[in-house]
Amino acid sequence: MERRHFLASLSAAAMASQLPLRARADAPSARADAHSAGADAPPAGSGRITLLHTNDTHSRIEPFGPGNGAISGLGGVARRATLVKQLRQQLGAVLLLDAGDTFQGTPYFNRYKGRLDYQLMRMVGYDAGTLGNHDFDNGVGMLVEAMESMEKLQHANPPFAFVNCNFDFKGAPSLSKRVRPYLVKAFPGLRVGITGVGVAFAGLVAPKNHEGIVWKDPYDSLKPIVKRLREVEKVDLVVVLSHLGYNLNGSAPDDLQMPGQVAGIDAIIGGHSHTFLDKPTKVPQARGETLVFQVGFGGVNLGRMDFAVARGAVRAASGSAMPVMGSIVT
């Protein structure tokens, strides 16, 4: 099992390394010589982008200890940071994203109330995350405090963004100004739109802990956002950070149903159900295919999806789960 995981990640790495790398801005290229102005900019809507992602990390700052079966010895934020750094140096166009439930699960959360989790995410270099049900475990006030502490951290990396489009934050202004419906990240030749959706509070979050926030249907909330990202923001790739769960067999909105309900999503980075997938599931949708992925929980794996985009459309996409292994695997 572990060996299979390892080999899968190795082949993905080897494959990516053989892809043509975009030239750095300072690297002269044949085309740059041929054109007089704006030569470094690739044509709009073309390029490669890698999405790295986690979900349900649940305050797993350190690797899992022995006695945890197949995941013993795996994970750990410091190792994840190394892996992300290596991939960023190698690939350039990389986004690091999280699908929620950063909080609850180890004494680190009980002691540091989520501040440490978010601060470390900034240090590792996350670009955006969304909110899972457990991120409300200490109530809205403590959630905002954790976000604030991350924003105020003195660090070279900028604070990361929170995205969600199906929570109505009107009654919680302190959170409202920290969570945006979507985010656009621009790379040379490529614009990526990122939004997020969260699971219904009923049965998961105590009412006092989500005071002032109203849950709305994720599909209905996503439709206008995806439309706006495509038509107004002119993005080439739409990514949804989803804390709905992978497959709920029709009992509630989930990641597998989403592509059929909302057209125009290229990638769904899922969470909540702690589903271990080796590679993304390709789900047909009105505009081609959506890659639906989720990498277990606790930072055991780092997810990776590679997209090659040309003239505003995805031409090739693949991905794999990369186990975050240390020197001691029990």
Binding site: L10, A13, M15, S17, R48, R79, Q104, A308
Partner: protein, 265 residues
């Protein structure tokens, strides 16, 4: 030449026109090995905090002059009863409504609490898992069935709120379950039940728990719940004492038949 699917994808990706492509693209293999070193800057932040957390394991919690034990062969699991009692009270606090019954699995209690002063680390040893307290709804009939499944498969799982009496012979057993105050259980009554996400998810041998409706996952680990209970006792200047036995009455021959997996009910 037949292309492997992998190389077909590479060709496909290579054919995409990328303008600012480096002329001398060099293939480098990302060093993903079985061992990923820890990022030094991050590890420098974590190490002192990890030490701090570890130091908290030595912090005193509460006095337990008699200790709390899972019980040897033929004895009741008073440590389990205490855990189930705390689960029931904690669930009641979270949902703000009466919780009539709680059940956990004896296999999840990994060590006894020895007599003397308890430390935080003792509770971590007892409950190393991250299992979460869950509140579900069951009918009275389902509660009766849940306890029965625990008796047949495990000789009775630790519970709170009920009393079970098993009689008859190993070949033809009898079984009655009543509420803790002796009142009969109405099979049709819907009651709130506290358990763990592990058991509710079908993680052990009580399949009927999976039928639970309106699940409320509290976000509180069973361990944190026990830590909070000990801290509350200490704050109230009380000692941690075992609850009285008497929740399972099972004759010795039947207990043996259960262990030999020969008991029918």
């Amino acid at each position: 030449m037949k292309l492997k699917p992998c190389s077909a994808l590479i060709c496909c990706l290579l054919s995409i026109p990328l303008s600012a492509q480096a002329t001398n693209t060099k293939a480098e293999v990302i060093p993903i090995s079985a061992s990923i070193p820890e990022d030094e800057a991050i590890q420098k932040v974590i190490a002192p905090l990890a030490a701090e957390i570890k130091a908290t394991f030595d912090l005193p919690l509460v006095q337990a002059p008699q200790g709390l034990f899972r019980g040897r062969r033929g004895e009741e699991n008073l440590l389990g009863y205490w855990t189930a009692d705390v689960m029931r009270r904690a669930a009641q606090n979270v949902v703000g409504a009466p919780v009539r019954f709680a059940i956990t699995n004896a296999g999840g209690l990994r060590s006894n609490l020895r007599p003397g002063p308890l430390k935080v680390g003792d509770i971590f040893e007892l409950m190393p898992f991250e299992n979460e307290l869950v509140v579900i709804e069951l009918t009275g009939a389902e509660v009766i069935q849940v306890v029965k499944e625990g008796i047949v498969r495990r000789g009775g799982e630790p519970c709170s709120g009920v009393k079970a009496v098993v009689g008859g012979t190993p070949e033809a057993g009898t079984y009655t379950l009543v509420w803790e105050d002796g009142r009969p259980i109405d099979p049709k009554e819907v009651v709130k039940v506290a358990t763990s996400d592990y058991l509710y998810g079908g993680g052990d041998s009580i399949p009927t728990l999976k039928l639970g409706r309106k699940p409320f996952t509290t976000g509180v680990t069973l361990r944190q719940m026990l830590l909070d209970e000990c801290a509350a006792l200490a704050k109230a200047k009380k000692e941690l004492l075992p609850p009285p036995p008497g929740r399972y009455t099972i004759p010795a021959p039947i207990q043996e038949a259960i262990r030999d997996k020969k008991f029918k009910l």
